[in-house]
Symmetry: C2
Subunit: 811 residues, 2 copies
């Protein structure tokens, strides 16, 4: 192929006129693939604009145009171009491939392509492969009661919405893990590439084992512009760009230009090269049985004009190859005849009559370019992962139980006990290869290190002789990026596997917005019958607010639960197990659930154990209950005060407070209620786990003071209980945003969550002002003062004041 | 200098034995700088371990050791090494420099260095430059009532805590903007370098103008390990690493090794080279008056062992040069005599007797290496930015007022009006160069584009002839990374300037955790008398939940306000101005405040205007008030129902509901209360803006039904008002997590926030079940049904149902 003179697009960007040694596509093939692309482009424009007259068989009229024009054209032709060429690879090499569409805004393109290949009509039979189907396809897009403007759960073949940008590459790698035969094509927009999460996600190649895992083919799409600005990566020097991706560990292949015919040849050649390379890497590594080193995976860089093939200019302003093509390039064809004419001209430039037959169906010779059956990217079961999901084999959680012969009689580290259970989950599912643990360098710090008896951390870089628990095929993924942990896990779950993300509680806020988006995805998916349920996203939040005393204020934040509570009740669960045995039950439970987000908050420090495993099971199954062993109420009478608690540290302080009260004021009748499942507090109408008002009142009474010791910000308890009869008399102690580098006991004191504050509150609200009560309050206040004096002098707690002194004798 | 044989550390990493052509340090200088470094290391270890005997002048005893050992040694010697060499540069070149300590965990190092240079004792006179001062310095570290373990607000010279990792480079660039004479040295740990926000922050060089702005010298510190893992950047091939930073646009200079004497020479040479290069870049650009292209700024890569100079092995396990040195390398010197001996040996290896004089003061020849006065990094006023802050010159906001002769009589786009005001803020402060606007490619989309009449977007890459509003010295910063926008602005504010971050409401969640950390920083700073107040961090959240109907569910999330509300009341403010004039007043107000985080939520779409500018000022100053023009209550009598609203869309729907009610049921007495300042709802004891109970009851009554139309998740209103007398009768309509690509009116309908749902709720709760009431409800329900039918058929709203029909006639 001779190198033609460079176009303006090429000259603007100082690009060499590209040349390849041999044209990979015959003239006929080139013509066909171009027609396929034009069909996808035509359908994309149609979705944005047309209510009717889908094949322009009658003159285009204002009444054929939608009243509200919504959608994003700019990225779409590039997405369509890539899709067509990936189809070619799938057919030529019989590949199993899915398409992660980073620029999810280009929803019309994803819908168009899955429609062209037939997958769309199989899922939505009302959108048939005919004139009427085309009309409905166009009409439903961004239309009330129709489908959203983005690649979304409604879109076949999609596991990635892309409305919020940054997670495409992490999702892609998560999908490829443990799927050796899968190739994940991942288109990254040059806007998205500016985000932090995406900028670090390129490093995911350091965690992909070519023997065990599939391949990811990143395709950086440089169309040059965002909403109203050029993009960084499209404007930096090309050699700098190449260096960047070499630095990220890739072998970038550039496809640059704007002449479709030339670009088809270039893209076909680049794809051939990339898939050859992937094949070569995988074949070599698998033959060797182990990857000696991380391979240099290929990636593509596609530089093409934004809004490619769309109108060059509108109203005298540059549109194609500029940010003005980002959304709807021609603003008002309904009201402006010139706009209508431009739209007509634009749509006809794709020559619909050469693409669709009389009935409105795609012509068979074009359709033949799409793969068939499950090879179609819109029908690949990996993108509807619930179809492939196999339940985890779970060990009997009771086998890991801590012996707790009497409440408070034993001490254990809850997450360490959970670690032993997780080790065996790893073991039992080693063959199925469908369970992973993610964490930002905290698996050992969070005391889950028993899992390292069974597996390692995956690590594709050099491994030194003195390294510990690193290997090429470990199943624990550690990187100092909560974004990557979350993104990988989402990709892994959405393609049908299971996992757990263990994180310092404060820093899970780093992925607040990713949590939001995943919750939204699940909410929509649950209403799509064709989407099979996927495993729940399970968080273990540990190293929590009350035990980050060594790292101080920056590490103390329990607010993630508040964020979670804003999402749809169907989706979210929050568990605060008070000890190791309850944590075991909750973990086992969460690993059996689907289509949910489970948040488990549990400490890692040595702490007293309250329930034996049978009691733990009963208590957790109910979600909330009276701890009769701790209270001293008289049968058949209501107590004077309810001491409620949720969370391990609040439970300890509550029971210590109760011990103090029973010792000092034995006539005061106290009930202890422990809450494991926070959502039981909500009304039954608001959350499926919510207690009925009758059940709530039976626990918390209708009028007695409730002193509620809560793990997080106190307001959440008010918000969950504000409809309850006794709400006015619920008094919550929790985190008051007072943090410090200090002792664990001092942390609860400065937030008034300690035993003395709780006990004083109980006495003040529940007892008569007897001499004994006044004297007790005085004594507790003196203890708090003495604590402060002692700790500032000695740097440690005064044992008499903060030690755990519960004994069964007092029960 | 002859190249010596490589050490094990070098061999492990395949490093060349480095050689430089000429030793920059004389033997005497080398010896002095090494002693300075040893002094800093000694003080760092002392802070982690010692309660007493600070100079080891008596035999080390268990009683000299702290009872709780907290702190992070691993990163500290590297931080100290860099600090000593930066001091050399400051003195040699009379530089103004600050030190951003990315690995904030290395707090002992920052404290040690600012103590050595004398800045610490000037701020905290009780920590003197003598034996007693040393003892207190050691004791206070991570000690109850003392200072935190991290670089924190308490640390002189710090504007960056580093507890949550990822923001060092963004903070550094934010500090350098508009500070042409400042150099910001920014140490980045190789752990932090794995985070997303940091991975994209390297691209900040594309926004730094060498003429107008200062310089950032990034120093990537590869000590190889995180808590329990190697780091990615330390283990990838060196040429890959070099490519990565060349790709990011830097000129990396490597300093690698573990032999202190050699490393001092290498570091001195590297620093000389880097500062020469910075000087050259700035001189050339400033001579030309404009930067022709983005310069290739230098950066340093320091590869040194983790826990450098600490114990090689403890209990037979590798510690120096491995992750075991991350925190406290010798665990139990109080209880284990061998540990005590090791600690003694380690500390004495620094030869304290050769560093401090008899009185405990640093020897004068060592002290002479520190810069003096404000050149000391612990005393540079840029790191206590409030000292340099100049109030903004603000135009008279009334000049931008929208004419609103009668409520609802005019239509305006609130943020567009605000944009005109901001344009003139830009203009008035152009000389002071102390105001910037940040946004993720959304300034124009958010309709603030009037600012482009006054300034451009800053852009250091190529600028094409067809580009719009890009220039080398623009004051609007746009990048598709909320993390960068937030991080830059934090750095800019903390060094004494002003700014605004405009963002799509849903995606501000991306920086939830950065918001948390900044709020924590402000909370602590406010209690440090020596920290001068800095300008508030102002958010404009627009393109909000109710008007993202074109982007759909992924772009619809009003939950940031909930997160904000968890933080200390002193710090946070949330404003929901209902129209353009109120937005003007609020903007003007926020730009005058200090040490706060102001969240303003306002729409950008054309919307009815309610208040003239005088009314707006009165209303906003009160924060909440009765809109008498809208209600029909009888003087001296309580209304039947209170229709409350907060937010622009809820206000419109409420007033439309009231119009419907007054039309249909004129006997129903309605009061309208509009809330601008959300925190007025909280009790006065909880928030400085909170209404007294009397004032609250006067607005909302003690027992009448309140139908509250709220912008966000309804729970927040309950949480804010649960202590109020009338709380049981407040019924909140808000976002119910129902999103879609649909019309704006349909969005409020599917969340039951529309006029019909509000009116029906009011009738059901407030009126007798008269025939007229029943008939009205029936009619409104029919309208809702008709809406649904019409919209699904036509794709747009039925005008009769959703149009704004308020008129003064009905008032």
């Amino acid at each position: 192929m001779a190198a033609p003179a460079p176009t303006d697009f090429q000259k603007d960007r100082c690009m060499d006129a590209p040349a390849i040694s041999r044209d990979p596509l015959s003239h006929a093939d080139l013509n066909l693939i171009d027609r396929y692309w034009r069909a996808a482009n035509y359908l994309s424009v149609g979705q944005i604009y047309l209510l009717d007259n889908p094949l322009l068989r009658e003159p285009l009229q204002p009444r054929h145009i939608k009243p509200r024009l919504l959608g994003h054209w700019g990225t779409t032709p590039g997405l369509n171009f890539i899709y067509a060429h990936l189809n070619r690879m799938i057919r030529a090499r019989d590949l199993s491939m899915i398409y992660i569409c980073g620029p999810g805004h280009g929803g019309p393109g994803m819908v168009a392509n899955t429609y062209l290949e037939g997958a769309y009509s199989e899922i939505y039979p009302e959108i048939g492969q005919n004139f009427d189907g085309l009309k409905k396809l166009f009409r439903q897009f961004s239309f009330p009661g129709g489908v959203p403007s983005h690649a979304s759960p409604e879109t076949p073949g999609s596991i990635h919405e892309g409305g919020e940008l940054g997670y495409a590459v992490a999702h892609a790698y998560g999908s490829a893990l443990d799927n050796p035969d899968l190739i994940v094509a991942c288109v990254v927009g040059d806007g998205e590439a500016e985000t932090g999460p995406l900028a670090t996600a390129w490093h995911s190649n350091k965690f992909l084992d070519p023997v065990r895992d599939g391949a990811v083919l990143p395709i950086l799409h440089l169309n040059g512009y965002k909403i109203a600005n050029p993009t960084l990566l499209a404007r930096i020097d090309k050699e700098e760009l190449r260096s960047l991706f070499v630095g990220y560990g890739y072998d970038p292949i550039f496809v640059e230009g704007d002449d479709p015919k030339l670009m088809h040849q270039l893209m076909a050649a680049a794809m051939d090269g990339a898939f050859d390379k992937i094949h070569e890497i995988q074949t070599a590594a698998r033959a060797a049985g182990i990857a000696a080193r991380r391979p240099r995976w290929p990636m593509l860089v596609l530089r093409s004009p934004k809004g490619w093939t769309g109108p060059k200019e509108v109203d005298g302003k540059k549109v194609e190859g500029f940010w003005r093509s980002h959304q709807v390039p021609i603003a008002n064809p309904r009201g402006n005849p010139e706009h209508l004419r431009l739209l007509d001209e634009w749509m006809k430039s794709y020559e619909p009559q050469a693409l669709f037959d009389e009935s409105g169906a795609l012509l068979p010779e074009i359709k033949a370019l799409a793969p068939s059956g499950e090879r179609r990217m819109g029908a690949n079961p990996h993108a509807n992962g619930g179809l492939l999901k196999r339940d985890l084999k779970l060990p009997d959680y009771r086998a890991y139980a801590v012996s707790a012969p009497q409440p408070g009689g034993a001490v254990a580290e809850a997450t360490r006990v959970m670690g032993a259970y997780l080790r065996d989950v790893m073991h039992l599912n080693a063959d199925a290869k469908n369970f992973r643990i993610m964490g930002p360098d905290e698996t050992a710090s969070n005391r889950l290190d028993a899992v390292f008896d069974e597996t390692d951390r995956v690590w594709m870089e050099e491994i030194e002789p003195f390294d510990v628990h690193l290997s090429r095929n470990g199943r624990v993924m550690e990187v100092l990026s909560e974004h990557l942990c979350q993104g990988w896990l989402e990709g892994y779950l959405l393609t049908g596997r299971h996992g757990l993300f263990s994180c310092y509680e404060a820093f899970i806020h780093i992925v607040d917005s990713m949590f939001n988006q995943h919750a939204k995805w699940l909410k929509v998916s649950r209403h799509l019958p064709w989407r099979a349920p996927v495993a729940s996203l399970n968080y273990l939040l540990t190293s929590h607010v009350w035990r980050q005393d060594h790292n101080g204020f920056s590490h103390q934040d329990p607010g993630f639960i508040d964020l979670v509570s804003n999402k749809k009740a169907d989706i979210i669960r929050v568990y605060l197990p008070p000890d190791a045995n309850t944590l075991l039950w909750i973990t086992d439970h969460c690993l059996r659930t689907y289509d949910r987000i489970n948040v488990i908050v549990a400490g890692k420090q040595p702490a007293p154990q309250w329930l034996n495993i049978a009691e733990a099971a009963n208590h957790c199954a109910a979600g909330v209950g009276i701890w009769a062993f701790a209270g001293n109420e008289t049968d058949g009478e209501e107590p004077d005060v309810v001491m409620a608690c949720a969370g391990d540290v609040p439970t300890l302080e509550t029971l210590a407070a109760v011990a103090l009260l029973r010792d000092s004021l034995p006539d005061l009748k106290v009930r202890v209620v422990n809450v494991v499942d926070l959502m039981t507090l909500q009304p039954a109408e608001q959350h499926p786990h919510g207690l009925s008002d009758g059940a709530f009142d039976a626990l918390f009474t209708r009028d007695k003071p409730v002193i509620f010791a809560y793990h997080g910000y106190p307001y959440l308890i008010h918000r969950l209980t504000y409809k309850r009869a006794n709400h006015h008399n619920i008094h919550v102690h929790g985190f008051q945003e007072e943090g410090a580098t200090t002792t664990p006991f001092d942390m609860v004191v400065i937030n008034a969550l300690d035993r003395y504050h709780l006990a004083i509150d109980a006495i003040e609200r529940a007892s008569s002002r007897s001499d004994a009560a006044i004297e007790t309050i005085r004594r507790f206040e003196a203890n708090l003062k003495e604590h402060r004096r002692y700790i500032c002098e000695h740097g440690e707690d005064m044992p008499d004041i903060c030690e755990w002194k519960w004994s069964c004798a007092s029960a």
